[in-house]
């Protein structure tokens, strides 16, 4: 199953975000080896050069590192992973509040609603 992309943004940014989420959610564990560029490109059904570019940017950010001969690995720095995780969560919360503001809710009303929500759907 190939990955889905939206139309307005470059494909490599979307690949980068997707892999980042796979890392911060623990599906690619800290210190584990990533599949090769070719494998990842094939899984996502994208051009290997585009995948290469996404991985290169992730490498720059320090979230992954490459070992000359044996491929790319997820960082072992768990503090870094959790801080990235938190900043992404904050972004999501921020845009959620913005949307609620659009609907005419104040912050307190949103909090009340959140508390009322019993978490029926955990997704």
């Amino acid at each position: 199953m190939s990955w889905q992309f939206d139309n307005e943004r470059p494909i490599y940014t979307q690949l980068l975000e997707k892999i980042r989420i796979l890392i911060i959610s623990g599906q690619y564990a800290p210190g584990s080896r990533l599949p090769s560029v070719r494998e990842l490109a094939s899984e996502a059904a994208v051009n290997p050069n585009t995948m290469q570019r996404a991985l290169a940017e992730l490498e720059q950010s320090g979230l992954i590192y490459s070992q000359r001969t044996s491929g790319r690995y997820v960082t072992e720095d768990k503090i870094m992973i959790s801080s990235i995780r938190e900043s992404i969560a904050q972004e999501k919360i921020h845009s959620f509040y913005e949307e609620m503001k659009h609907l005419g809710y104040s912050r307190e009303e949103v909090m009340n609603l959140l508390n009322k929500d019993k978490g029926g759907s955990s997704t």
Binding site: E8, R9, I11
Partner: protein, 232 residues
């Protein structure tokens, strides 16, 4: 790095009709490039010129720095837009023929792909559906270890599920040092596997840009941009 395909100032006329006008294209190794344009824009003609089936009226075409000649054809794997195989042959016979004909043909790879696409090599070509025949043709082309793959409408006749598999097949089987030129109008399906796209309009190159540059600059997909450029 060696340029795989270079067209400089290429024009092609059929009688009085100009089909291509001053086309300049360079393809570097390791790239997958989409050749996009509406019907009659010159896509097939450009591909046929690139593999030496036609000769340009003006201009120069080089493959790995050399003019297209019979000895150079081994470097090119060409998928025609029409069925070019003999109907009465079994799939396995055609595989054998390709193996005899092209020294860079990998028979094992061909059988592996046939198996994965669930095509019985014992069947005769005439008993296969149009879509399955297209798959066989593509398998034959992708089983060659070529420098330049010229694919003219590789997924036009197959269903969406098989299309995904075929695109995967192209992605996983091309020679990494080589390049692929794909002509198609099913842009949305191939967009994410392309490095770069070339838009042809009435025989001229009107756009030559990387996919992510197009998305960054226009905030829209190549498919959407195409609909805008070629609005009827």
């Amino acid at each position: 790095m060696n340029t795989i395909l270079e067209c400089s100032h290429v024009s092609k006329r059929f009688g009085k009709k100009t089909v291509l006008q001053d086309v300049n294209i360079q393809i570097e190794p390791g790239h997958i490039i989409g050749l996009l344009g509406p019907n009659g824009s010159g896509k097939t003609t450009l591909i046929k010129l690139s593999c030496g089936l036609l000769t340009p009226s003006e201009g120069d075409i080089r493959i790995l720095g050399k003019p297209v000649d019979p000895s150079g054809k081994l470097k090119i794997a060409y998928l025609p837009d029409k069925n070019s195989l003999s109907d009465w042959m079994q799939v396995s016979q055609i595989v054998d023929m390709f193996h005899d004909f092209y020294s860079n043909f990998d028979r094992g790879k061909a059988y592996e792909m046939l198996k994965r696409l669930d095509i019985d090599p014992k069947l005769k070509l005439k008993t296969l559906s149009k879509g399955t025949r297209e798959k066989v043709q593509l398998i034959l082309v992708m089983s060659r270890n070529a420098d330049l793959y010229l694919l003219d409408e590789p997924v036009g006749g197959v269903d969406p599920a098989a299309r995904d598999y075929i695109l995967q097949t192209i992605l996983t089987n091309y020679n990494e040092e080589g390049s692929i030129l794909i002509s198609t109008h099913l842009i949305a399906d191939v967009e994410q596997m392309l490095d770069r796209v070339i838009f042809l309009k009435e025989g001229r190159v009107v756009l030559d840009s990387s996919v992510d540059d197009i998305r960054t600059q226009n905030r829209k997909s190549v498919d959407e941009l195409f609909r805008e450029v070629f609005t009827c």
